[in-house]
C-alpha cells in the first residue's frame, strides 16, 4: 500500500492505493485552504503541511497521525516590526540530525527546527545576507523551494532560491556562499550574465549515493554539478525543451535524473506528456511515455509535484498536474498509470 500526500489549492488530500492501481482519497484536511506542500518525516512518522490561509497567513502544521488534530508550529515568521511578512512556506525537509527539520519559504527564507518541527527559528545568516537586495522575485515569489542536506553531515546543506541561485553552507548555516558558476541565464543581457545573482533555479536535488553530485532544473536549462554545487554543466541537450520545473532522482543511481519538459512559451506539456530519464548523468535522455496522455494534453506540473519512493528497479514515481490529475509508475518510469483525477489544482505530491 502506498500513501500519497497531495497539496492542492483546496486542501490536503491523502490518497492510498496498491502499487499500480488507482488510488482512493483516504482523508482530507485543511478543506478549502491552499496547501502548498505536505510530507511525512520518515524518521518520526510526523506529518507536516504548509498551508497559506488567505485569512490567517502562512503556517506549518503538524500531526503525528492522520486521525489526530493538526497543531500549528511556532516560530515560522519573520522578525517582528520589520518591513516584510512571510508569504508562503514552499518546502519542508528532514535534516541530518535527530529532530532537525528545515523549511523554505518566501521571501527567500530558511527556517530550522530542532524539535521535530514543533518550534522553528529563522536562519539569520541567509536573512541578513548582504546580497539580498539583489535577489529578484519571479512570478512565483522569492522562494526557497529546494533544500538538499548532505547525507550524514548536518553541517553541509544546499539551497535553491528563485530567483537568487544556488546557496551552499558547510558550517550548518552560519555562512552561505553562491554555487552558480556555469549557469547561464539567457533571460539576462549577455553583459550581465557573468556576475548575475538573480538566477531562477526551479528545482534542485542531490544524488544520495554520491552527494557531491547535484542536478537542477533551471528557467531554461538542466544542469549537473559534480563538485557539490560549486560549478554546473548544462545537460539539456537531447531534451525537446530545456524548460521545466521539477527534477527527481533514483536514490540508488547517482547517474539518474527524471524531468518533465514543458514549452518555454506557455509552461505546459506540448500536447504529449513525456517524462525524460537519464541514466548516464545527462549524456543521453530517454522518453518515458507508456501510459501517459499522448494527445491534446497540456499539463502544468509544478516544482513540488513530482516525487519518488523506493529505489532501483522498484523505484516508484508520482507526479500531479494543476489539472488535478496524478500519474504514477512502479517500474522506474518504464510504464505509467492513472493514480487519481479530478482533484483541485495540485501544488505538491509526496509519497509517505
Amino acid at each position: 500500500m502506498t500513501e500519497l500526500l497531495v497539496g492542492t489549492r483546496k486542501g490536503l488530500f491523502v490518497l492510498e492505493g496498491e502499487r499500480g492501481s488507482r488510488f482512493e482519497v483516504k482523508i482530507r484536511a485543511f478543506v478549502g485552504e491552499p496547501v502548498d506542500y505536505a510530507m511525512r518525516d520518515a524518521r518520526s512518522g510526523r506529518l507536516f503541511a504548509a498551508v497559506t490561509s488567505p485569512f490567517w497567513g502562512p503556517r506549518i502544521w503538524f500531526a503525528d497521525d492522520l486521525e489526530d488534530e493538526w497543531q500549528p508550529a511556532r516560530g515560522v515568521a519573520l522578525p517582528r516590526g520589520g518591513k516584510d511578512a512571510l508569504k508562503r512556506v514552499w518546502v519542508i525537509v528532514p535534516g541530518e540530525a535527530p529532530g532537525l527539520v528545515y523549511a523554505g519559504g518566501d521571501p527567500g527564507v530558511l527556517f530550522e527546527s530542532r524539535d521535530d518541527g514543533e518550534t522553528w527559528e529563522l536562519n539569520r545568516a541567509l536573512w541578513e545576507h548582504p546580497t539580498r537586495p539583489r535577489w529578484r522575485r519571479d512570478s512565483g515569489g522569492l522562494s526557497v523551494h529546494s533544500i538538499v542536506p548532505w547525507p550524514g553531515d548536518p553541517q553541509r546543506l544546499a539551497l535553491a532560491i528563485s530567483a537568487a541561485g544556488v546557496w551552499l553552507t558547510e558550517d550548518g548555516g552560519e555562512t552561505w556562499a553562491h554555487g552558480n558558476e556555469g549557469i547561464v541565464a539567457d533571460y539576462l543581457p549577455e553583459e550581465a550574465r557573468p556576475t548575475a545573482i538573480d538566477l531562477c533555479v526551479h528545482h534542485l536535488e542531490r544524488a544520495q549515493r554520491r552527494p557531491e553530485r547535484l542536478f537542477l532544473q533551471f528557467h531554461g536549462g538542466v544542469y549537473r554539478s559534480d563538485d557539490a554545487g560549486a560549478s554546473w554543466t548544462d545537460i539539456a541537450d537531447g531534451l525537446p525543451h530545456d524548460f521545466g520545473f521539477p527534477v527527481v532522482l533514483d536514490p540508488a543511481d547517482p547517474d539518474s535524473a527524471y524531468v518533465i519538459p514543458v514549452t518555454t512559451a506557455d509552461r505546459v506539456t506540448d500536447g504529449r506528456v513525456v517524462v525524460y530519464e537519464t541514466r548516464d548523468a545527462g549524456a543521453t535522455w530517454t522518453p518515458r511515455d507508456d501510459g501517459l496522455p499522448q494527445g491534446d494534453a497540456y499539463l502544468s506540473v509544478l516544482r513540488q509535484s513530482f516525487a519518488a519512493a523506493g529505489e532501483g528497479d522498484a523505484l516508484e514515481l508520482y507526479f500531479g498536474a494543476t489539472s488535478g490529475e496524478i500519474f504514477g509508475s512502479v517500474d522506474a518510469g518504464r510504464s505509467w498509470f492513472g493514480v487519481a483525477q479530478r482533484l483541485p489544482s495540485i501544488a505538491s505530491v509526496r509519497p509517505a
Binding site: 488567505p54 485569512f55 520589520g82
Partner: protein, 86 residues
C-alpha cells in the same frame, strides 16, 4: 474594558476562551494587547509588520472598523474572516 469575542481557530488559540476583556484605545492597540495576553494568537491577526492581515475584518459594536478606530469601555469587538470564495 472592551469585550472581544473569538470564534473557531482564534478561540482555540486563546485557550478556548470565547470572550476576553481587553483594555485598549484603538483597534490596533486592542489587537496588540490581545497578542500579548495570549501568545498563541501571535501572528494570526497581525502580521510580522504589525499590519492587520488582509482578509480579516474587525467589527466594533457590529460596525466595520479600521485600525485607528477608537475603542470605548464595554465595546463589543468581533474578529472575523472576510467574505471570500472562488
Amino acid at each position: 474594558m472592551a469585550i472581544v469575542r473569538l470564534r473557531g481557530q482564534l478561540e482555540k488559540l486563546a485557550g478556548g476562551e470565547s470572550e476576553l476583556d481587553v483594555e485598549a484605545g484603538t483597534v490596533t492597540e486592542l489587537l496588540q494587547q490581545l497578542e500579548q495576553d495570549h501568545s498563541g494568537l501571535e501572528g494570526w491577526i497581525l502580521d510580522e509588520r504589525g499590519e492587520l492581515r488582509r482578509h480579516i475584518n474587525v467589527f466594533v459594536n457590529g460596525e466595520p472598523a479600521e485600525p485607528d478606530t477608537a475603542i470605548e469601555d464595554k465595546d463589543k469587538i468581533e474578529i472575523l474572516p472576510a467574505i471570500s470564495g472562488g
